[in-house]
Amino acid sequence: MAFDSGLAVLVLGVAVWTIAARDTFAAVVGFVAYGLLLALAWVRLAAPDVALTEAAIGSGVTGGLLIGASTRLRRTETAAAGEEPGPTLRLAAAVLCGLVSAGLAAIVLMLPEPAPTLAPQAAANIAATGLGNPVTAVLMAYRAIDTLLETVVLLLALVGVWSLAPDRVWGGFPGPRHHADPDGVLTFIAQLLVPLGILVGIHIFWVGSVAPGGEFQGATILAAMWILAMMAGLVDAPPVSRRWLRLLLIAGPAVFFAIGLAGFAMAGAFLAYPVEYAKLLIVTIEIPVTLSIAATLALLVAGPPERAPHR
């Protein structure tokens, strides 16, 4: 309990810092710390699957994305300083936000007893999926349509990002070209970490069927390693018009959707799996989904095309 109180105070402390820091870069550093502390909180709340996701996405990849943006926008900081709202507006905002917090806190204190739960249903039906991890079972079986739509949402976000490219570079390379310095430290780090990271990513994905982990966490690590290789200049980002890239991006949702449709024939409903093949089908979906998510996340971080394609 003392540990939890201390952790909660720390989380609130870095949150206040993230809001109050003068310098945007300092605020981003606070946000990375926030994600990491939340990952610890998720372990304490007996949600290791969420802890893995938070450590990978909430802190890691989002942190990398925000840092890139904050260093690019550095010069605009002073210009924005004059546009801060006056004391009256700040006070009104503080009162409003205090009320929102108080309302939510009251709800937390008044949550029904005993708490409603779907855990017994999940436990009763997990055998039908052949999986050992209830969270993966929920993601891939009972709420599979959510997960299918989520992969589509990621693609839509990527289409949104790409659509911001100026016409002359449409279909070109995302982000600046980084050049590898053969003796550089960054090159060395990338050469060292990328293979290890790919291994860890596959491990996290693979254990997801029986233990905490799964396609989102594994895919995020793979994405981070691809971005690291791009930053170090070991590989260039592919032009977004490449056919193999487009195929890679839609492979996951397409296979997911196809097996979902096959569910009508095999088990009488969309995304229903026949019991004897459930695990095989789920893994068949998960492998392309992992690769597609990894590619989508990496390209979301890489941003819209900035350099015209070679012709």
Partner: protein, 102 residues
């Protein structure tokens, strides 16, 4: 007070803090940061509901856990899109604020 309640109260305060940042910061990047803070708070509130639903040998209700994981990934996608929009705005106008420019 149980530890779940403690984290729930923490989540409630985080939502308020993030909302405050979202309102008072003029820079869009700070607003994006604040929005992600709110997200963390909301997920924590969800996690408390999950933790209280511990049953059948699970440490928490797996259904909210799955929803939180979905939420974290979608929040990332939204953040990436917002940042791309912001950088494009900066590229076009040389400014990175949304203020009244007339």
């Amino acid at each position: 007070m149980s530890e779940a309640t403690l984290y729930g109260l923490c989540g409630a305060v985080l939502v308020g803090l993030g909302l405050f940042g979202l309102i008072v910061h003029p820079q869009p990047l700070r607003k994006i940061l604040a929005f992600n803070l709110i997200g963390g708070g909301v997920f924590l509130l969800f996690g408390v509901v999950a933790r209280r639903g511990a049953a059948a040998g699970f440490g928490g209700d797996p259904v909210p856990h799955a929803l939180i994981i979905t939420g974290i990934v979608v929040a990332f996608a939204a953040t990436a899109l917002a940042i791309a929009l912001l950088l494009r705005l900066f590229q076009e106008t040389g400014r990175a604020t949304l203020g009244s420019d007339g």
